[in-house]
Symmetry: C2
Subunit: 162 residues, 2 copies
């Protein structure tokens, strides 16, 4: 069976069942630095279970659309945030859980200045920059154990642009 | 008394007494995603004391060099990381502590892809983008109390380019 998933722009509302969009949308919660800086406060639900927060940097190779979606993964022990160190868009693919397996995936393309935080144990595709600039700061769990479950699709799933 | 501080490029070595440079320098600690992504693992010493980690977004107005350095601040209860959501350089100013007051400041300018983490209780100037693009993801302590100490300089201190 073959399936085609069409990308849509990333919005907080559509992404809410899977995680948080981290950006400057809306009014700042607080003005700081003598009015020179707006703070949009505490934008992500972080959960590192028995581990602790860490900041790593991912340097990922570009993908191109249309793209075959081979697999998704999830981290049972912690949330994972991707913060792009550039203004380049990237691809965000998530799937609802259906009895321990991923259901039909959803695909989003970010706007400049948008990061995402996958909630703990949410199925998502691997980091997929859509340009040569693939550097991300990643806030995830530092701790023991593999903290990784992969699911390889048998179906032929293609992500394509709208 | 007037003082002139000259900016230098940000390096991990020069910044080490104050915090961590968060970037992709060196070999990745691990290749992930079927070899498509390098993970530079756990690049920052995070310390949130009795609080917890949060991700906020700062949207700061641009500064220009030369710039008057009016004040520095520190956060006694936690570290604070600035992760630029762009490739634009920003200004990083820190100062050693000398008996509870800031000593002579040091000024750095970042390269594209560099973020910083100020260690807990390190004197630093406020977030200072050098371009109109002033969006940063900030990883700092979410918790009770003001977690802020400011020091306003009486001297006339100017930060200028090399």
């Amino acid at each position: 069976m073959s399936q085609r998933i069409v990308t849509r722009p990333l919005t907080a509302e559509a992404f809410a069942p899977f995680g948080d969009v981290i950006d400057v949308s809306g009014e700042p919660d607080k003005m700081i630095n003598q009015g020179m800086c707006g703070r949009h406060h505490d934008k992500a639900i972080l959960d590192f279970s028995d581990g602790k927060a860490g900041i790593s940097v991912f340097n990922a190779q570009a993908r191109e659309l249309p793209m075959r979606l081979d697999m998704v993964e999830r981290h049972p022990d912690g949330s994972q945030a991707f913060l792009p160190l550039s203004r380049e868009p990237f691809l965000v693919v998530v799937a609802p859980d259906e009895n321990g397996r991923p259901g039909t995936p959803l695909a989003f393309v970010t706007a400049p200045g948008q990061g995402v935080n996958y909630h703990r144990n949410v199925w998502h595709a691997v980091c997929a920059p859509l340009s040569e600039q693939g550097q991300f700061a990643v806030v995830d769990r530092i701790g023991d154990g593999p903290n990784l479950e992969e699911y390889w699709f048998e179906e032929d799933i293609t992500i394509q642009e709208q």
